[in-house]
Structure formats: structure tokens, C-alpha cells
Symmetry: C2
Subunit: 333 residues, 2 copies
Amino acid sequence: MKVTIKEIAERAGVSKATVSRVLNNSKPVSNDIRVRVMAVVEATGFKPNAVARSLSMKKSHLIGIIIPDLSNPVFSKIIQGIEAKLRETAYSLVIAATDFEASKKREHIEVFKDRGIDGLILITDDGDNTLEMLADFDKPVVMIGTGQMSDEIPVVKIDNYAAAKAMTEKLLSLGHTSIAMIRGPLTDIQSGRERFRGYRDVLQLHGCYDEALVFSGMYTFENGYEAMEKLMKDERPVSAVFCANDLMAVGAMRFAVEKGFRIPEEIAFAGFDDVDIACMMTPSLTTIRQPFAMKGETAIKVLFELIEGSEKLDKMVYELPFELIERESTSKI
Amino acid sequence: MKVTIKEIAERAGVSKATVSRVLNNSKPVSNDIRVRVMAVVEATGFKPNAVARSLSMKKSHLIGIIIPDLSNPVFSKIIQGIEAKLRETAYSLVIAATDFEASKKREHIEVFKDRGIDGLILITDDGDNTLEMLADFDKPVVMIGTGQMSDEIPVVKIDNYAAAKAMTEKLLSLGHTSIAMIRGPLTDIQSGRERFRGYRDVLQLHGCYDEALVFSGMYTFENGYEAMEKLMKDERPVSAVFCANDLMAVGAMRFAVEKGFRIPEEIAFAGFDDVDIACMMTPSLTTIRQPFAMKGETAIKVLFELIEGSEKLDKMVYELPFELIERESTSKI
DNA sequence: TTGAAAGCGCTAACAC
DNA sequence: GTGTTAGCGCTTTCAA
């Protein structure tokens, strides 16, 4: 049987309260008693039961995270950042995946509520009444990656619009004028939409936006491949393709290679995210690097300010820097 | 304030005990009381506090998982399987990463112990006194991916030896005779060693094993690249390279391509794992497919038998099937 | 079938 | 400084 605080108290000849005070430094305790208690604690290897503690303190020391898909590197890098940061604290990380289904998201939020988690991080790309699900959730919440959905909930993100603009401008500066885009699904009204807007606005400014050059996919390799197939069927002259994420870029490149095109000489490609695969490809992929780990760390930092800090947050949108990484899939025309 | 069982009891005009019985179906309750209680429960949206429940039942409904690295797709696919399976149950998943450091593993095990998790899944590739760390951990544990370290702890794995043999035989059957291997680090005495042994034994049997053709790396893209560099420096005639995982294979291929070799015509490559990148590469990678999700699911299944089942396990080693996937990086010589 | 009461292991008023 | 006591919200004997 696990040893309890009661036993420690008896063995040390003090009360449970005193043991608790020694362990938590919550109130002054005379030195000799402190020593005596610590001796027993060490001798027995006593560790307070976290569950009992939670019940008493109304604090679970659990942080929940809800994520669409665990196997997507974009998300797992974020979790990695979160986990690393959390390890410095007394909190543990509870993970739940939604497979992009709103019903599962709702369910997980309920479970987390019952578990009394102390804070929640939501990685989500959508607006499907998440806010409503969170309505009677009275613990701090931080969102990652989406636009701001409420001025109650802080958001950690990058400036997708600016990043897409930067990439489009880069392609223009390399001499491309007919630049296609494989964007995210039209239902992605968050980052996907921003990336598209950045692309479109820059091209419009330069008078070379062509709606017929815009395709879309669900951010998968296969979708990128298929979108590229459609794109090439049109036989319009396209010298560069900007994809809304790396996976689609890799899929699109694959199709182009199969059709015998040389990259970047005949057609250039750019992605978005800079997941590992981007630099492993041949040719390696020009892309926008997102600071995934930093996203996770920042989310935790903000969440803790909310949990422990008494002060109000100084801002609600935490915009992290991105970086344009030029690799082999693009070159001067 | 959250509504408690006491309130429900008062509003329904019954005792707390009865409410508990209704909620848990733990004892018969007369029908009209059951209806009355349920009505109040629904009206208030009452959900029992999981922490209090844990304390009382000595069951946290938490499953812990310790993993080396969250961003490695090999691991995150396993977690995905675990999470999916766990979602069907009343348990939640607590995750901790070790970054391959034994000290962090020890720490996490301690934390999990205090939290009273009901079961632990360990994904680990090493033998660093994990057993000792688990010594006074009295909850069920299941290991994934390693050889069997103790006959107390069940293991879920694939037959790495057989898989490596199969791949080596495949390469032989394609006409290759000088087959190099980029194996895992010598310190990996688990799956890494098995994969090497499979390779070596088959080649020895065919009289074409050459120790000088064996290189090693830490399973990263960079290590694969560097190993390939060394390999080619020797200028021995090698027609195929079998890598202990996909990432190293991709790295090695990258080097070969940079040196102007054509794959698979001039040199063939095979990997191990079948992570997503394997089929996204050009040329796509011949490899051994591991049933990652099934590994996770099986681990959970076994863990639950241990947690809930009264019976003893019928076996301690759960060996899952692998599959050799032939793609473009190999061809008949 | 139902209720009263004890207890899970800890923390935190409140007294001394 | 230290001990006593009353919870935290639930489950589960034990009686009735």
C-alpha cells in the first residue's frame, strides 16, 4: 500500500497539517520539526497523492490539448513545444484528437471539463461553434493557429497573410508572372483564406492575378497531386506554383516530375510550413517556415499567465515571426 | 459554481448514495426514483467530478504514455492508434516525452505514479534500467517496439529480424549481391540490432556478407546522408543499400542523387518503417511497413486486459505482421 | 430499495 | 509554530 501523509505524521510525531506545511512550504515550521519530518519523508519515499491534492485544492495540474490529427507533423511539432515547456512545471499534458470532427471536439471538451483540467489549448482550423462549446468552460483557453474568434480567448499565430504575400513577391522577384496557387479548401476561413488573400492581393497589385490559376485541396499529398493534374490539363503557361502547405507542394511536384518537367527550371514550386520533408525532398522545397515549437511554448506561456497570473493579458493576439526559406524548388527564371 | 451530487440529491429529494447508484447503475434503484433523479441530472447538466471520483475509487482513469520524441512520425502514428482506441473508453491519455534521456524517463514515471495513472505504455528503444525505474510501480505496463525485457511486462512489436531478412532476400532476388547496410547505432540493442542481424544472416547464408559494407547512423536524415558519403568514398561496388529506417534511406538517397547516381538503375535503396515520406519521395521508397496504429491499439487492448481483466494474459509478446512494400527505389538489376 | 455515515488523502481555516 | 477540524465531491459499506 502507498504510504499516506497520515503515516508520515504519526512516524514523525506531528500532525498531518504540519507535514503538509513542510512539504508545501505553505507556513513557517520550526527547524527541528522540519528536519524530523523530512527525514521520515525521505526514509519512506513519501509522495503526496496528486488526486487527493487536486480534490482539496480544486486544481488538477492537468493541461488539456485538443488537436485535429496527431500524425500530422505540423501539429505534433506544436505539441512537442508544449510538452517541453510543460515539463518545467508541475503540470501534465492530456491529449485528445478530433480527426477534424466537431462532435469529437465537443466530447473532449466535456471530458476535460469533468476532469477539472486547469487550462486548455485548442489547435483548430475552423470556426465550427467552438465558442459555443466553450461557453460554460470556466478555465483559461488559448488557441493556436486560427484567427481571433472572440476577444475572450487569446490566439497564438503567424501572419499568414503577410507570409503568403512575401512568398508571392519572392516568386515575382524571381521573374515569374504566371503563378498558380493550390490553396486550402474554401471552408478553411482561417489561415487557408489568409494565405490565399496574400497571394491574390500581391498578384492583383502587379496585374497578373488570374482566377483560373487557383486550385484547392485539403492539405494532403494526394490533393496536391490531383490539383496539379487539373492545373496541367488546362495547358495554361504556368511557371510557378505556390501551395498552401508543404504536403500539397510535394504532391504537386510529384505530378510535375512524372510528367517529365524539370524543377525548378521549367516549373517552380513553393510550399508553406517547412515541415521536415521540405528539406529532405529532391529538389528541396522553398517554403515559409513556421515556428511550430515556439507556437506551443508561447501558448503555454500565455495559458500560465491566465492560470496563475492575476493580471490581465497585455494582448490577445500573439503573432510569431515566420521566415521565407529559399531552397532548390525555385530559382531565377 | 459547478453543481455537485449533493445538490442533485437535494433537488430530487433523495440521498447522495442513491444519485450515485442511478448514475453508475451500481445497485438496483426503483424506477420512479431513477426517473426523478435523471430528470434533475438532465435539467442541471450534472456531471460527476472526475477527481473526487478518482479519489474515492482509487482509479484515475488516466493512461500514461512515455515516448522518446513527439515529433517523430514513427512515434506519433503509434500515439494516434492509442488515442483512437482510448477514445472509446472512459480513459484519457497523458503524454510525456523523454528526448531519449533516461533521467526524464525516470522523472515522468515518478510523476505518473503520483498521479495515480491506471496504466502505462512505454515506447522505448533501450534497456537503460527502465525495469529498475518501474520497480515499485504497481500499475500495469505495456511496452511497444522493444524486445522483451522482463517476463512481467508484455511487449507489442514486429519481428524485426524476419522483416530485415525478408528485405535482404528481396534485394538478392532482384539480382543484387553487394548490398550495403546503414544500420542503427550499435547502442540500439533492440530492434536496430535485430534488423542488422536479419540482413547479415541472409547475406552470410548466400556468401556475400561483407563487414566493410555496414555503416551506422542515429536514424536521422543527416546520418543517412553522412553514412552514404562514407560508403561511396570507399568506392566499393555497391548496387543496393538497405537502411534501418526510412529517414536514413531518404538521406542516403539524397547523397546518391547529388553525386549523379540514378535510382534505382545504378543504385537501389530500401528503408524500414514506411512513414509517410516513403511514398512521397521521388523515387518512392521500397520499405517495410510497420502497422503503427495497430501497435498502439494492441498495446491499449493488452493494457486493458491487465487493468480490468482478472485473467492472466495468454501471452507476453504480441508480434504484429509487417509488410514489404516494393516501390520505385528498387528494381530488377 | 434507500439513507446515514464513513472514508479516499490531502489542504486550509481556525484555534491554541 | 502547531494541532484540531472541517471539508473537497464522490463511492460504498452498513443498517434499516
